[in-house]
Symmetry: C2
Subunit: 222 residues, 2 copies
């Protein structure tokens, strides 16, 4: 995959993207102004550190290097900034997941590739991951529904891999739904604990988690 462990120390072209947690597979369109990008990065870090409700528009604007009023030229509200981040983050995470899966042919390698990429994304971009997985709860209902659609897509994609493997006899799946959710939980929760423990590298976490997921669909020896 494009951001395999070998790409971890990224080239200077994409290094800023990696640092900012905006996945290189999903650069913002060129139409996005520099100010809008600065605001997104600032809001992502504020939301991740203090939560949506704990973040003031002054904090976002200040971190982006502009006055409190300047934000409203680029986004109509704080809520609009959160929505943009959630949509962007979910799209990036799903793109990573699918990209990882498409590297394999059989269900087993597809699952391992998907989990590796999804875990890597959350371990590599825990700030955006936190916003995407936690602060999504602060979206107003109509906005939350937009993101919920993306979440269902991600879950259905993983469930499809497990279902395919179960029907081919490659996997032993006890409960399709709970196993799907469990594998996703494993990766999603990285956004919670990784910032508290800078111990492990994203690539080693991803490799271990891919192996754990593989075991979760394999019958234990008697």
């Amino acid at each position: 995959m494009s951001d395999s462990p070998k790409d971890e120390s990224a080239g200077s072209a994409t290094a800023e993207y990696l640092r900012s947690g905006l996945h290189p597979l999903h650069p913002l369109p060129p139409t996005e102004s520099d100010a809008r990008r600065r605001l997104l990065v600032a809001a992502r870090d504020c939301f991740a550190e203090d939560g949506y409700q704990g973040t003031s528009t002054r904090m976002i604007a200040g971190r982006a290097g502009m006055s409190p009023a300047a934000m409203y030229i680029h986004y109509p509200s704080k809520q609009a900034v959160l929505l943009k981040l959630c949509l962007l983050g979910h799209a990036a995470a799903f793109e990573a997941l699918r990209h990882g899966a498409e590297l394999g042919n059989d269900p087993r390698s597809r699952l391992k590739g998907a989990v590796y990429a999804f875990a890597f994304w959350h371990a590599e971009s825990p700030m955006l991951g936190r916003v995407v997985q936690w602060e999504v709860a602060s979206l107003e209902p109509v906005n939350f529904e937009l993101v919920a659609t993306q979440r269902r897509t991600i879950e259905a994609y993983v469930r499809g891999i497990l279902d395919q493997g179960a029907q081919h006899g490659a996997f032993s799946v006890m409960d399709l739904h709970l196993t799907t959710v469990g594998i996703l939980s494993l990766c999603i929760d990285l956004a919670r604990w990784v910032p508290l423990r800078p111990a492990s590298s994203p690539s080693s976490i991803a490799a271990t988690y891919a192996a754990l997921a593989e075991r979760m669909v394999s019958a234990s020896p008697p």
Copy 2:
């Protein structure tokens, strides 16, 4: 264990505790007044639904059936209420985990008992679970450190079970630390998604997750 699936429809004596998410193994001391208990339950639900920063003291007091000012007779600040909930919730979750583990003798049944109980607790008490696992981030540093000690205790306990099993040859553990954290993540993330999906019962979730954890420490067949 005391809250095995058979106990799910609890007797009337403990039913109120189960509904309130305050684990029956940890009733509040009799010295705790009724008003203090009402405030804790109200705050737990407010924090779980709207987050700590999104909750006003007026909301807590109103839900507890008292005026905004009455809260300050029982707790000196909103922060003090959050701290009390976090300490109480962590203690209850750990008590459940340890109680589940102590039902087993060999590492395998100890692990399954621990994961069953820990998952059951989070599936059964997702409101308190959310506060304990998410809103803990809103604790001031000195208060957070008190809770962080409890978290380290929980993690060390699970790591001890895995380590024991690995040394006895009962388990095949690839990475002791990441496997420990992964198993905990599986259960902790229940507090995030269970309230969104009233589909599965706590007992079926717990049983499946215990089996998934068992697989995570068992080598896949070649």
